[in-house]
């Protein structure tokens, strides 16, 4: 690693100030992606602003029909939280499937969402559940947040503070993990919420996307059978050592059926 200055502010405002005064500052959330990147010397920030000391950013609460998950809440905390398990079990299950136990003990929802790795699980949760990203400056709908591979609507220096998930009537997530990295080769979230039925796919494309055909097919009721005829074209899907675009297209169909079955309960 190249060296950097480490800051551990106690408030979001202090963090924003530290970021703005740094030459090339970066936010350190759980560090599960950033630290390996730094170890490989693929980045050379002057300053890391560590959000781990900001108590306000941790925790989960229910508020007006939504679950508000603090940006620095770990995957393990989401997976184990009684309220999440009761209100959005699909979200708990998704968090339970991220990385491995130790990654889940450190990795945070804010960090994952801000990074927008095309193979991350959380983007499917946010888009599928029609979540809203809260930052220190504004609120951004999930549909508008994920703008491309490793790209988001966040401005320079903008800090995610929480993610608000409207509690759905039904939701289910199914993931096909990369056998080596355990990231999602394909992950599909199916949910019926206040805003209707939504289907979000991660892993398959450059960034999370909604599957309109599946949403229509499920509008009359959520079941695996309802989407048995839904398929996606391989064109434009990711292709790598582990899965060709054709295979990914198949996995989208299979995971869609499994997610629908899980959502149907």
């Amino acid at each position: 690693m190249y060296n950097f200055n480490h800051h551990r502010p106690g408030s979001v405002d202090a963090a924003a100030a530290a970021l703005s005064s740094a030459d090339d500052g970066k936010i350190l959330a759980g560090g599960m992606t950033l630290l390996p990147t730094l170890k490989q010397r693929l980045a050379n920030p002057s300053d890391l602003v560590d959000l781990g000391g900001i108590a306000d950013l941790k925790g989960i609460r229910e508020d007006g029909g939504s679950l508000i998950v603090g940006a620095m809440t770990t995957h393990a905390a989401v997976a184990d939280d009684a309220t999440v398990k009761a209100k959005i079990p699909a979200l708990a299950a998704l968090a339970e499937g991220i990385g491995d136990a130790q990654v889940r003990n450190c990795g945070t929802i804010g960090g994952s969402v801000a990074n927008n790795d095309p193979a991350a699980d959380y983007p499917a949760a946010l888009v599928g559940l029609d979540a809203t990203v809260h930052t220190n400056k504004r609120q951004i709908a999930a549909d508008d947040f994920f703008t491309g591979m490793f790209e988001t609507a966040l401005d320079e220096g903008e800090i995610i503070t929480a993610v608000a998930f409207p509690i759905p009537e039904k939701a289910g997530y199914a993931k096909f993990a990369n056998p080596a990295s355990r990231y999602a080769i394909v992950g599909v979230m199916v949910a019926k919420g206040p805003a209707g039925t939504r289907v979000a796919v991660t892993g398959a494309g450059p960034s999370v996307f909604r599957l309109g055909d599946a949403e229509s097919a499920l509008s009359g009721g959520i079941s695996a059978d309802a989407v048995s005829g839904v398929s996606v074209a391989a064109d434009g899907l990711n292709s790598d050592l582990h899965a060709s675009s054709e295979y990914r297209a198949n996995l989208v169909s299979v995971m869609l059926r499994r997610a629908a079955a899980a959502a149907a309960g």
Binding site: M1, Q40, F176, P179, A180, A243, Y247, V254
Partner: protein, 788 residues
């Protein structure tokens, strides 16, 4: 049976330190004034090195020195040698292009060592490494085994035209042709034995230290064979006296073959420690392990099996191209020849076998021995051929094997591929394994799987291996540059405890326990009183190290012989003390007795007398400290049958191993718990090869595409089932312990069993490893795709 003796599952003596964080691995060792090395490696698979500008790096903070191949050349540092000469089909030795620790004219694979920075901290060395300016002239690269010789490929070495290292044959081609001419049916297969990266969990490390006062070196290294490393470095690389180098291989975190070899990094650390007059340490990060540890396997093979109308094997022909990588690693040439083609008879009476092996250079990391080394490749060829033959002939796969097994009354059995098997009972392993897996119930289990929408398959692998490596005269006649005996020194301390110095090296095998059991039982002393010392050339007689499942069969036999010498000397002392003739003194369970009397002396009393010889026989030297060297008379031949049962989800192509039965004949077993652990680990590596692991280089650029655990798929706990392990026993006939060796069996047996099971489930004849979900999904859905 005493609970610590031979045959007891004694809990391991080494575990306490490992479980409490007190193991001492190479990277745990630090020396005063120590500096750190960082290697500048080639980012190109093939490039001339037109120049290296060190100026900026040398001026960087914390940097002590920057060295290149030119600096080593100026010191007359030699090439890293290949220790086994393979003569080609014309009798000419293999092509042996030089392999300099730091490249001189060309870089030949991604990760090849071009320069080294020595600095006060690792970060400083690495920072400066980025400032070393290397002027590369990029050349076209060839990374694919099958393409190295196709004429268009760029040649790597001037010494090796058309990238050919050797074209080698074993067996009589005309006889094989004649056998094939009489065949009722010929089964033909094309196979790729996928390239693997060993991935011992402890990355390689080295710490070189020069002592100016005595003009001598100490090298701490993650080595499976410190003596061999010392020999190679002194005799071949540096041309220095062996008494001036001490190699210490402390606790080593797994090897699997990859830590046998003499590597560039340890060579450079040792050499540089004299240049900079300070200890120089290097520890690989995992990325470096991926690019620069010697890889394994990487064969492309066409094989044919001729049979009569009853499925009796008449002859076999095998044509293999083996990838050596960019340079010849220490024992690379022997792996696809004498450790491979000699095993092609398997457990069968195939009367004629002809093998042709071409070894080629490519722009990839060197390839050498990896758990099993040649024998997994041979078993994969034989057991895939037999399986496909069974399917083509409509014969049950167990039955076709039975019809061709070498029978117990045929031993010793001379195969047509040079080896003479001393003993075995293949039917015994088969019948036990079939019972354990409930072979008769498979049809019902398959129906149950089908009812769930899953495909179920069963696969066999009747493997054999030649281990207990190896009779020195035999390997010498085949080109080995060393003898493959082993040494042991058994030293009674004056107060009755015993220190055993063994040339074998334990890096997970549990020698401290197994060897202690052997010594405790042989000498009749408590196991707590035995200490096993290994891994330090400064304190141990010259030894050959651990690989090829040789430690117990060869190293253990040496210990047994040394114990015998101890007993014989002690008998003389006991006879003197008890005023009896030597012939009348009996030894049992640690006590010498005069036959027919109640006179007795414990061996501890004898040891004390030997060191305090106040009342002592005139013709006996004081002390009780005996050394033995054991050179095996033959290889040992562990064999057995592994059966794999899989269930496949056709929607995703995911294969789940739902059952695994292994029945192995390792001869006598000292510690069943340790043996079973070795089998488990071997199976996991074999299943890893069959389902998950695959080293991939970009075929055009030669870049390593699977250079981390993000892409190279290591077997995890949730990829594997629990295994069911059984043993049969035919004692090895030619070593004093009757033991055969168990370390490689699982890795040898497992790939064929797994692929045979998957192809059985899919109703196809063949597929290449690894059976990744996508590959299996395509094969499971091919008929449907074709129909659409």
């Amino acid at each position: 049976m005493p609970d610590t003796g031979i045959g007891a599952s004694v809990k391991r003596k080494e575990d306490f330190r490992f479980l409490t964080g007190q193991g001492r691995y190479t990277d745990d060792i630090n020396r005063p004034g120590q500096l750190h090395a960082y290697f500048v490696r080639s980012p190109h698979a093939h490039a001339t090195i037109k120049g290296v500008n060190k100026t900026a790096a040398e001026a960087a903070e914390g940097v002590v020195a920057v060295f290149t191949g030119a600096d080593m050349a100026a010191d007359n540092v030699g090439s890293l040698p290949c220790g086994w000469v393979v003569n080609d089909r014309h009798g000419d030795p293999h092509k042996a292009p030089p392999h300099f620790p730091l490249a001189r004219d060309k870089a030949r694979y991604v990760g090849d060592h071009v320069a080294v920075v020595i600095a006060k901290t690792y970060d400083a060395a690495r920072n400066a490494g980025e400032l070393v300016e290397v002027d590369y002239g990029e050349l076209p690269a060839v990374a694919e085994t099958g393409k190295a010789q196709d004429g268009s490929a760029q040649q790597l070495h001037d010494e090796a035209p058309n990238n050919l290292c050797y074209d080698w044959v074993l067996g009589d081609e005309a006889e094989a042709d004649a056998a094939f001419a009489k065949a009722h049916h010929i089964t033909k297969i094309d196979l790729i034995n996928n390239r693997l990266i060993p991935n011992a969990m402890e990355p390689r490390a080295a710490l070189g230290e020069y002592d100016g006062g005595t003009d001598s070196f100490t090298l701490y290294s993650t080595s499976q064979n410190p003596h061999l490393l010392k020999l190679i470095l002194c005799a071949f690389v540096f041309g220095m006296n062996e008494n001036k180098l001490r190699v210490i291989a402390p606790d080593v975190g797994g090897g699997f073959g990859s830590k046998i070899f003499c590597y560039a990094e340890e060579t450079v650390c040792m050499w540089a420690s004299k240049k900079v007059r300070a200890p120089v340490k290097w520890t690989a990060d995992r990325s470096e392990s991926f690019t620069s540890d010697a890889h394994g396997r990487d064969h492309v093979t066409h094989a044919e099996l001729a049979m009569d109308e009853n499925g009796k094997f008449l002859g076999m022909k095998v044509d293999t191209t083996a990838n050596m990588g960019a340079y010849l690693s220490s024992f690379s040439t022997s792996v696809p020849t004498y450790l491979y083609a000699t095993l092609l008879a398997g457990q069968y009476t195939t009367p004629v076998i002809f093998a042709n092996v071409k070894a080629v250079f490519t722009n990839t990391a060197p390839v050498d021995a990896y758990r099993g080394a040649g024998r997994p490749e041979a078993t994969y060829v034989v057991e895939r051929l037999v399986e496909v033959a069974a399917r083509e002939m409509g014969i049950d796969p167990a039955e076709i094997r039975r019809r061709n097994f070498i029978q117990p009354d045929q031993f010793p059995y001379q195969t047509p591929v040079a080896l003479q098997y001393d003993i075995g009972d293949y039917e015994a392993s088969m019948s036990k394994a079939l019972e354990m897996i409930d072979y008769d119930g498979f049809a019902a289990r398959r129906s149950a799987s089908e009812a769930k929408g899953k495909l179920r398959g069963i696969g066999f692998s009747s493997y054999i291996e030649a281990c207990g490596i190896a009779p020195s005269a035999v390997v010498g006649s085949l080109g080995a540059g060393v003898g493959l005996w082993e040494s042991a020194q058994v030293r009674f301390n004056a107060t009755g405890s015993v220190s055993v110095f063994t040339g074998s090296h334990s890096h997970g095998q549990g020698h401290e326990t197994t060897f202690s059991q052997l010594v405790a039982e042989t000498l009749g002393i408590p196991i707590e009183n035995v200490e096993i010392v290994h891994g330090d050339t400064g304190s141990i007689p010259m030894g050959m190290g651990t690989y090829g499942s040789r430690s117990l069969a060869v190293g253990g036999s040496a210990i047994s012989r040394a114990c015998d010498k101890i007993i014989e000397k002690s008998r003389k002392i006991a006879a003197h003390l008890m005023e009896a003739s030597v012939e009348d003194v009996e030894f049992d369970a640690g006590t010498f007795r005069v036959a027919g009397t109640d006179k007795e002396k414990s061996i501890a009393e004898i040891a004390f007398t030997a060191y305090v010889p106040h009342n002592y026989p005139e013709d006996v030297e004081p002390g009780l400290d005996e050394t033995a060297f054991y050179d095996p008379l033959n290889f040992t031949y562990p064999a057995g049958l592994h059966i794999c049962e899989v269930e496949i989800d056709p929607a995703t192509g995911v294969t789940e191993i739902v059952d695994w039965v292994a029945v192995d004949d390792f001869g006598k077993v000292i510690n069943p718990m340790v043996v079973e652990g070795q089998v488990h680990g071997g199976i996991a590596q074999g299943v890893g090869q069959a389902l998950l692991e695959n080293c991939v280089y970009d075929k055009d650029s030669g870049q390593l595409l699977t250079g981390s655990y993000m892409d190279y798929c290591m077997p995890r706990a949730d990829d594997l089932p629990s295994f069911r392990v059984g043993l049969t026993e035919t004692a090895c006939t030619h070593n004093p312990l009757g033991v055969k060796g168990c370390g490689e069996a699982g890795a040898i047996a497992a790939p064929a069993a797994t692929i045979n099971a998957i192809t059985n489930a899919l109703g196809i004849l063949s597929m290449d490893m690894p059976a990744s979900p996508e590959k299996v999904w395509r094969l499971a859905n091919e008929p449907k795709m074709a129909a659409e």
